[in-house]
């Protein structure tokens, strides 16, 4: 009898423990549920960034952008402190999945910035979408992430947005650059099976082909490969004018360093992707990096210069990559949406509708960000794309980047300003 009573009390207590946080604060009529922020509780914002591994500089770069955006608001919003929870999404689908699961398991997280890599996004998107959250990626470019046609390989789900440019746009521009600026007649592409690299390689090859260029080789390496002699020899058989190599480090280092020893590729130009747009690429590749073209984000303007000054004041050095401005914009989109939809209750607590958050981000139109005027689109294959796609350029690596720690390299082509005519 006493045992039955104790069990009943325990059950009631457990039920109460689950129900209380929901019933406290304002009433929630959002179809996806609400985040309740108590009067003295912080607003929790998540971040899924690459904190460890070969390209952790990208995580460091974007985390800086997020932190500076929070600092701009004194890490406070609607009289609540903003708490940033950072999860390591690595640069893999599994990493993204784990990071997303950790954030989704915390009912206080309002939304997330991330991921850095498209592969990690593929793992994270279904979980974040299912949980009702919003994620805004600062450096994903894979076209599949904004394509809603699942049968065609699309992986977009509601709640996914990005401030980085779509690979379709980047691919189109780089193919034009190869054809008109480098005067290439033949092109080879190499990816590593990652959605980011394969998406870009596909987009460049398709556009180059549409421009009546000759795509002579489309191949792939494995992640973790150190010996590129075999694929380079195969490419040398076709003697392309340009090889488009959007690989990550260290595969991109191995590729560039070993190419100099392959007979038949002496005059071939390497065009690298934004994954190689880091000061570590020329340092680790050595002499072989000199002359290589790499695409990367190009942001300018007074507001951006101010951000760079803030960065140096805060971290004591220059940003390690080029996506901090995209992360800054992503954070502002998230916080602006939060500010717009949060209901302030009498006791100062907040009720934030999850669907309302998604709608508010999706409604972003002509927002003056550092990376251009941002408008979030809903039409596939650009669903969730908020970037105007103008902050893109091609740089050419010189001796200064290899030996003198100079970064970024000199500009070879600014898509916002230069014309192919």
């Amino acid at each position: 009898m006493i045992r039955s009573f104790c069990s009943l009390m325990l059950a009631i207590n457990l039920l109460a423990a689950f129900l209380l946080p929901v019933s406290a604060g304002g009433a929630c009529d959002d179809p996806l549920g609400c985040v309740e922020v108590g009067p003295d509780d912080p607003i929790v914002v998540g971040a899924m960034l690459v904190i460890s591994g070969a390209i952790n500089y990208l995580g460091e770069d974007t985390l800086g952008g997020v932190e500076l955006a929070l600092l701009d608001r004194d890490e406070t919003l609607l009289n609540h402190e903003i708490e940033l929870v950072v999860e390591d999404s690595l640069c893999t689908a599994e990493g993204g999945q784990i990071a997303a699961q950790r954030l989704a398991a915390d009912p206080t997280v309002v939304g997330a910035i991330g991921t850095n890599c498209s592969s990690a996004a593929q793992g994270a998107i279904p979980i974040i979408s299912e949980s009702g959250m919003v994620m805004i990626a600062p450096s994903n470019t894979s076209p599949s992430l904004t394509n809603t046609d699942i049968a065609a390989g699309g992986s977009h789900r509601p709640g996914y947005f990005r401030t980085s440019q779509n690979g379709l746009i980047e691919g189109m521009r780089l193919a034009q650059f190869a054809m008109y600026a480098l005067e290439a007649e033949s092109l080879a592409t190499v990816h590593d099976g990652d959605p980011y690299t394969s998406g870009l390689a596909r987009a460049v090859a398709d556009t180059f082909d549409e421009l009546d260029g000759n795509v002579v080789f489309e191949g792939a390496v494995n992640k973790g490969d150190t010996d590129m002699t075999s694929i380079l020899t195969e490419i040398a058989v076709h003697q392309p004018d340009v090889i488009y190599v959007p690989l990550f480090e260290p595969e991109s280092n191995f590729f560039a360093a070993q190419m100099q020893y392959i007979a038949g590729l002496e005059d071939t130009i390497i065009l690298g992707g934004a994954a190689s747009f880091s000061s570590s690429f020329p340092e680790n590749t050595g002499d072989a990096a000199i002359g290589i073209y790499v695409s990367g984000p190009l942001v300018s303007g007074d507001a951006y210069e101010k951000l760079l000054e803030q960065w140096v004041d805060e971290y004591g050095s220059d940003p390690p990559s080029g996506y901090h401005a995209h992360a800054y914009d992503a954070t502002n989109l998230l916080l602006n949406a939060l500010e717009a939809v949060a209901e302030i209750n009498d006791d100062g607590s907040l009720t934030i509708g999850r669907q309302a958050m998604r709608d508010a981000v999706a409604a972003t139109e002509d927002y003056p960000g550092l990376t251009g005027r941002l408008t979030c689109r809903e039409d596939s294959p650009f669903a969730g794309d908020c970037s105007p796609g103008t902050a893109l350029a091609v740089f050419q690596i010189t001796e200064a980047e290899v030996y003198d720690d100079h970064w970024p390299p000199p500009l070879a082509w600014n898509f916002a300003a230069d014309s192919f005519d």
Binding site: G53, N222, D227, T229, T233, A263, G264, N284, G286, D287
Partner: protein
């Protein structure tokens, strides 16, 4: 030639013989198609062969550690790839310091020698500690026990070095005298590949001399033949086993620096895993427990990996042939295990042991 024709018919023997014929046919047809198409020039074949020989030299140096330990303890030290990583990852910091001071390019040979000594001694220490802490207490237990321990030790070493040096990638600095190529008969061979092959050859010859011409080598061979008899002859078994681990560790650490000259990028805590597995494959290919076999197995594996995709797979019209490099390596392992489990030079070992 065909066992099922001479002995009583067996479906297993028949299947193996059919498989053997198909493999030979596949190799011949693939190679014929590639060579007759003339797609790849002679200079490019030489480039592939030279790169394969250099890669194979590194496999061989690591494989020697597997084979030495197996020869003496009949155990597979699966943590040996991490012993290689320990030397390679640690020496990259020394290399960076030498580069910062200019010593690396002012006295390149001395600097490389110092780096090899440093990495070799560090890996030797790791290997000795591994034997003393993880394997010696398990001596005499069933063979599966040290095998599982070795896998655990492998993870332990990986994450210890991740904790020590971080999870990011590092790269060895360029050594100017190793840049460029020498022209041999109009074909350019990278200097670094000649350096890798020659350095590995010197180390392998040094090991052969140590094992065949010195007292300690004689003791190693004696322990390898019969531990109990060796003990009765006054040989300190524990010391010899520890020394063997140390020698294997030194070679692995040295291979780490030589690898850093050859493939300078991608130095991280996980870098020992794949070379370790490949070196194990090389040791099995050559005949595990057999020192010349490990050397030969390493070189053979390196060359097959470099040439195989372009020669055989591309000739058979298999798409993405270069991505199947690892498939070639591990298929070789499976084929050796099926057709010649004792490895290429395995018979010679068994004759000696007999």
């Amino acid at each position: 030639m065909f066992k099922w024709k001479t002995d009583e018919f067996s479906w297993v023997d028949f299947t193996i013989d059919v498989l053997r014929i198909l493999i030979v046919l596949g190799v011949v047809v693939g190679a014929w198609n590639t060579l007759s198409s003339g797609r790849i020039t002679f200079a490019q074949w030489v480039n592939l062969f030279a790169a394969g020989l250099s890669q194979g030299s590194i496999y061989a140096l690591i494989a020697l550690g597997y084979t030495l330990v197996y020869g003496i303890l009949l155990m597979i030290n699966f943590a040996h790839g991490e012993v290689f990583m320990a030397g390679a990852f640690s020496a990259v910091f020394l290399a960076e310091a030498f580069n910062r001071t200019g010593f690396l390019n002012e006295q390149p040979l001395l600097a490389i020698l110092l780096m090899i000594m440093f990495a070799g001694l560090l890996s030797m220490t790791v290997a000795i500690l591994l034997e003393r802490v993880a394997y010696r207490p398990l001596r005499g237990s069933p063979r599966l026990v040290p095998l599982i321990t070795a896998i655990g030790a492998s993870f332990f070493l990986q994450y210890t070095f991740r904790g020590l040096y971080g999870s990011g990638f590092k790269a060895y600095p360029q050594v100017k005298i190793l840049q460029g190529a020498v022209s041999i008969g109009g074909i350019n061979i990278p200097i670094v590949q000649i350096f890798v092959f020659c350095s590995a050859l010197v180390l392998m010859l040094g090991l052969y001399w140590l094992v065949e011409r010195t007292r300690v080598g004689k003791a190693m061979r004696a322990v390898s033949e019969n531990k109990e008899v060796a003990r009765l002859m006054g040989i300190d078994i524990d010391w010899v086993i520890m020394f063997t681990f140390g020698v294997g560790g030194f070679l692995a650490g040295s291979a780490g620096v030589i690898n850093g000259m050859f493939r300078p990028q991608g130095v991280n805590f996980f870098m020992g895993f794949i070379p370790g597995i490949k070196a194990f494959t090389a040791a099995v290919l050559g005949g595990i427990g057999n020192i010349p076999g490990a050397m030969l197995g390493g070189l053979f594996l390196g060359v097959i990996e470099a040439i195989g995709p372009n020669l055989v797979l591309a000739g058979l019209g298999i798409p993405g042939a270069n991505q199947l490099k690892d498939v070639i390596a591990f298929t070789m392992l499976v084929l050796v295990l099926i057709f010649r489990p004792q490895g290429i030079l395995g018979e010679r070992l068994s004759e000696k042991k007999a």
